[in-house]
Symmetry: C2
Subunit: 348 residues, 2 copies
Amino acid sequence: VEARVRLGDVGEFGLIDRIAALVQATGKAVRPGVGQVTLGIGDDASLLEIPPDRTLVTTVDTLVEEVHFRRDWTGPEDLGWKSLAVNVSDIAAMAAEPLAAFLSLALPPETEVAWVESFIRGMAECAWEYGCAIAGGDTVRSRERVAITVTLLGTVERGRALLRSGARLGDAICVTGTLGDSAAGLALLQKGKGGPGPRGKRVKTLDTLIIAHLRPRPRLDAARALAASGQVTAMMDLSDGLASDLRHLTARSGVGARVWRNSLPVSDAVSAVAPLLGVDPTEWALHGGEDYELLFAAVPQSIELLRPMRVPITVVGTIVEEGVWLLEADGSEKALEPRGFAHFQTRD
Amino acid sequence: VEARVRLGDVGEFGLIDRIAALVQATGKAVRPGVGQVTLGIGDDASLLEIPPDRTLVTTVDTLVEEVHFRRDWTGPEDLGWKSLAVNVSDIAAMAAEPLAAFLSLALPPETEVAWVESFIRGMAECAWEYGCAIAGGDTVRSRERVAITVTLLGTVERGRALLRSGARLGDAICVTGTLGDSAAGLALLQKGKGGPGPRGKRVKTLDTLIIAHLRPRPRLDAARALAASGQVTAMMDLSDGLASDLRHLTARSGVGARVWRNSLPVSDAVSAVAPLLGVDPTEWALHGGEDYELLFAAVPQSIELLRPMRVPITVVGTIVEEGVWLLEADGSEKALEPRGFAHFQTRD
């Protein structure tokens, strides 16, 4: 039996060499015209060429062990995938294309090298899927917990970025896909269902929800199609939950919103699991977070034009003058307060 | 007496608003021609325009509490300065100009808001000094320790980046400034001398060294002048220690190096303090790390041309065919093994 190799055995530079070997080929994943990595891992900094007609788009996300993930619930490959995917979602939400990711990994010295290699493989898989290079980063020691920061650079044709700030009175408020799947998956993990073991052993419905939580699939294609339609006035991705994120979109646009509870798109899997856990599925849809679907405002007359897209689109509300309101099934209306994931709040 | 406001009291979005207010003006710090931030904090991602004749340069550095710094030794303003400065040093080492920094802060919920605001002020001071914007980032909760990841984007005229890989046989190996000051400062902090208190109370010599450790001043001007001279074949910054960093430069260039112990530039302050702590000052110079001086190779005949620069330049060795060697004062020669700071090694 081979002894388990830990980071302390190979050292910082040994680890960097292994990571560099695993990600080297991702330079070829970048789509033509988006930009190019001309110098990757191994110098003081990386070099990228940005096409002259494109704007650089930058986003950063940090995941901390025991705050954003637990290593007993998440295998390293899924975690590597998700660390990049949450950033791809931000780039997609700007209607931009991913170009190059930079990874900072803080790791306890007793971490196994094989764990890190699986993490990098999962991240590289996501990079291939969404067309970006892994082009640099930093590896440091932490005391007890893993912390992951990914900076993702992308580009968009100049003047074509879709911001949060363009929503106008009367616009339809839309979302892609279904909401609450990730929250349901997290609830199942909290109940001890699922984890990083072999997928075959899981019940299928539960599996779908757990995968939605562990391995989100950002809506890059849909974002591209929505931007190309010319009908979208504002867009962002759903990471904190509809109630919280909609507040940001309306604040940046200087408008308000009314959402209809009855219209929230909920998957069959969520509908099946919610009553077993004693939860109203639309509460997950409003406040769950981590769906990484797109939230956008669009000219109401244009919605039918957007229907032929391969991803389902649901109108969930309308832009109003001010406030963020929820229209209940019984016709009553109340303020829709954010209760999604927010850091530092005691309710975390 | 006003109650101390902690992050748990203001929440994630309250904190982001305060940070955004403190850094907003730094967009004006960027030098003309380097690039421009057209959308900063507040959307899914930031937007930057890169001039068509320039290459994008990206670096990432993470600092972890109790690994890279201690909050009882480092005040928040110095820590904010240093978090950006270590990245400016990498950008300078490529002969590039800083453009925009992205900050990820992982903070325990009991952290005081005033601490974070001082941190941001120190970082913004560094941004103004070196001409870069603070243009985005992420704030998340951590369990116990502060972790800081800064991604710094810069630009350089296309084809003008100075890499580690250009050193040639016979080149002179040079460094800017003096070496070992930061290591001496750290040793003093470890002995209980200094800390984040009022500077006036410190002994002046000790103060110089502690400041070198807590508030490094990257050599952006010198890097610019060295690149403009056209005489430099390879360059990097000194972060891990000369012995360790020189190994990276020679490996990337496919050459070796010989360093002369007698030639190592050591400051008067280091010479004064070293014997009191029972340390050979040239050991700090070789292995201390965190000097953030420039290490470069240059055509030997050109060294006199570089002398009129405002920063002192010292020739510390020469590029040879292979191996990294130290010529001792007695004329003997031995392999110069890296003993600088490296993560995950048990000697940390």
